[in-house]
Assembly symmetry: C2
Homo-oligomer: 152 residues x 2
Amino acid sequence: MTRTDELQLDRQVCFALYSASRAVTQLYRPLLDALGLTYPQYLVMLVLWEHGPTTVKDLGEALELDSGTLSPLLKRLESAGMVLRRRRATDERSVEVDVTEKGAALRTRAAGVPRTIACATGLDAAGLTELRRILTTLTETVGETQLTADVL
Amino acid sequence: MTRTDELQLDRQVCFALYSASRAVTQLYRPLLDALGLTYPQYLVMLVLWEHGPTTVKDLGEALELDSGTLSPLLKRLESAGMVLRRRRATDERSVEVDVTEKGAALRTRAAGVPRTIACATGLDAAGLTELRRILTTLTETVGETQLTADVL
DNA sequence: CCACATTTAGTTGTGCACAACTCAATCGTG
DNA sequence: CACGATTGAGTTGTGCACAACTAAATGTGG
């Protein structure tokens, strides 16, 4: 084992990414607990607050999540009284999701969350913007790549 | 809704982080499938390959995972024949984990994984190092922060 | 109009994450 | 030594992620 070993854990940017993502989710937890939301549920609410009634398909595209994740999540949000779901009259395949009054009321209480999180990251506005740019580019790049085991 | 709305999804660095982390895990999937590992199992194997026999506690510290995650994961790695677990003679509370011959043999086949992933990110060595530095700092900063709902 | 392909949600099964808990082994202090 | 506190691993329960599948609604070419 040398310091330049390709498999060394601390050299892996992917572990840093995995680790940072979990750490930030933990940062949200106490804030979102107070709102009765998990982090993925909060992301769904962000889309609904921003866009109004949205189909499951469009939520999936916005968050890059499939129906296997969204269907049970939305069911939980519905039983918590945050959202309503109804089949579209014009296309019975689609289900439109919208916030309830309770869900809409939550928006005010959630207003301070992003700023609180941003402060806790210790990054300034420029640092946050730069990090977001790098990560967005990274997501797009790897999203287009289809690796197979052959490359090994 | 204005373009400067604090809750706008596309302005959230945290979503970018969450999204990038999942995208990169997806990038690993075909490579690790060929090795019979999941991404968290691969991380455990990296630690074992690097450090040799390691207790569950030390694995947890290296990967920032608790026993609730590691215990079942290690049980699956054990039934896959990749690792062995045994109570330490000097302290029966600790369980030491080590790779089997099969697990050790996997290391050679895994050698190309980091480079393959690095290429697929589209980032050069400097970009990867810089991203890793930012993320590591971020993880450390938020790890020290204890938020409560009071700040809202 | 009709057979077949496509689209959209939902279901099932596996494997993390993580909080909260249990239990046994060990440590520390009087 | 006694005994309460601490440590280390494991268990239980909830909620994502995601692959693979099902089923119903809609689109489409002949």
